[in-house]
Amino acid sequence: LRTERLERDRTNAHYENLKNQLNPHFLFNSLSSLDSLIFENQELASQFLQQLSRVFRYVLDNKDKELVELDTEVKFISRYIFLLRTRFGDALQVCIDLEEQPMSRRIVPVTLQILIENAIKHNTINEENQLTIRVFADDQYLHVRNTLHKKSIVETSNKLGLNNLKSLYRYLSPLPVLVKEEENTFAVSIPLL
């Protein structure tokens, strides 16, 4: 039991780190896009800046919470997606296909962001190779599925993101986090709590 607790603390600590470092690539790339928007489209620039602050505020506000309602996380993730769509244009398609029922279930905060960021980090996104991400749920799981077109090299991956999520959910749910890679798709399923 003691080892179990120690182990859990450790997993939590790893996850804390993960949340706290909203990828610096993301921040600086967003700022670069903003630099351009300021000249091209002030309206959009202002919107972009506000959504960017909200994304960071969400992470700050929720990092100490163990769980949030899916509804809250989805609102945050829509802002995050807005930022990404502004940067990548139509090459990135995200479809959030959730009914009312799962919205009151709970997940670990920033889970969805980590999964979407993973998809973006590992896959080619351009006009020829669109990245399509679909978020949907059933009674037990929240699924994030994306088209698979892997980049040749991923420079900033430490492969810990998914593993940390897996070990963290082991303490929260009897159901495991499922990862399924097929020829053209990659899917992660997170147990709803």
Partner: protein, 256 residues
Amino acid sequence: MNIVIVEDEPLVASNLRKMIQKAEPEAQILAVLPSLKAATAWFTEHPEPDLLFMDIQLSDGVSFDLFKTISPDCPIIFTTAYNEYAIRAFRVNSIDYLLKPVDRDDLEAALLKFHRLQKHLPKNDLRTQLEILMKDLHSGQEKKKYKERFLVHARNRLVPVSSETVAFFCKEEIIFLVTTDNQRHISDFNTLEEAEHVLNPAEFYRANRQYIIHLQAVESIRTHTTGKLTVRLRPPLQCEVDISREKAHSFREWLG
């Protein structure tokens, strides 16, 4: 002067284009290429520009890959959002890099540097520099430092254990580190794969799904008619570790 930009984010590309035009009004921007693939195609069909601006992280890979298929001789100014690694590499080279969002002054300084270099250096010198740079990047990846000490949980404390006293890592519900005197500790690893990543392959061997064993823990191996191996570990360690037929050969090679 002819310039080509390789950048995958349209907004960033258009901004860079404007900034370059402002800093270098008589320059011609020939193309803005959004991917490695587009860049490769462009360079096979067109003569080289005088200067290339290139994002390091592209949507379909890392721009250094471009040099595997074509090797442009023209000077390059790299751009990157955040990349300690690249920044470190560029410090030892005189080819410039710019951090995004690109600062106007930095851009002007880089262009100035380009003009200066162009006067004083023949083209192939830049090429040589780039080769050195890529070698650096490469060896940086290969010269990986392996972990030599491991933190383990002992009661409420964390204790370092040196690699010389490790007998094996084993996976049960969690990953345990067992020392040569048969002390069992909770390791700081989440998975054996994670451990494998940082362990020196000359010392450690991934025996099966459950074990990574250290060379020094091996006492003897027993062969089976099926081709499978069983490794006996040095006392006081008590367990035996199975090696599958498929792995038997690589294990024997590793053992010496």
